[in-house]
Amino acid sequence: MNGIHDMGGVHGYGPIIREADEPVFHHVWEGKALALARVGLAGGHFNLDEFRHAMERIAPVDYLAISYYERWLEGTLMMLDDKGVVTTEEFEARLQELSGERA
């Protein structure tokens, strides 16, 4: 796929900024996003190459705007929907439910 992810040789993104003493995760949810992806892989719901291709299919504008683990989360959600494990409708319904609990 000739997508936004294939960035080799592309100019204009500025220098790579290396963070000193970078933590493994910057937020607790990032670890959970990683775990969710790994559980989906371990459970045989999707394979690594399907997962990578899911991330490639994130809309280009979003792909550039979101963080590394946001891409993992988006990719996992796409896979879970594609494979019928958790549909987008079920996911949205649960989001509604949780926001209701919080209100």
């Binding site: 796929m1 000739n2 040789g9 790994r38 690594l48 990578r52 291709h53």
Partner: protein
Amino acid sequence: MKITREAVLGLYKQTGTARVDADAAASFQVGDTIQARNINPTGHTRLPRYIRGKRGQIATDHGVFKFADSLAHGAGAQPQHLYSVRFTARELWGGEAPARDSLYIDLWDDYLEPA
């Protein structure tokens, strides 16, 4: 499927590899000059755009590996040789690139044709 603690630990401890114990004929030998195919699949590929159509040399034959492009689309592992291929910086980026620089990239047999 129930995912147990042991299964998760195993997943993290094992070194995941796509190497397979399968017979597949190698289309190329170390030292061969190849040209990367100019393919533009709409699905998953590990052949970056900047390599397509470029000429390089087989540096190492890693052996037989599962093919990511087919695995990403339910088309099976299609085991085939995976090579480390050397491209000069000048081949990839033109005459202004440093003469001594080169790039090594792992490419599957299906990506390559004789040059």
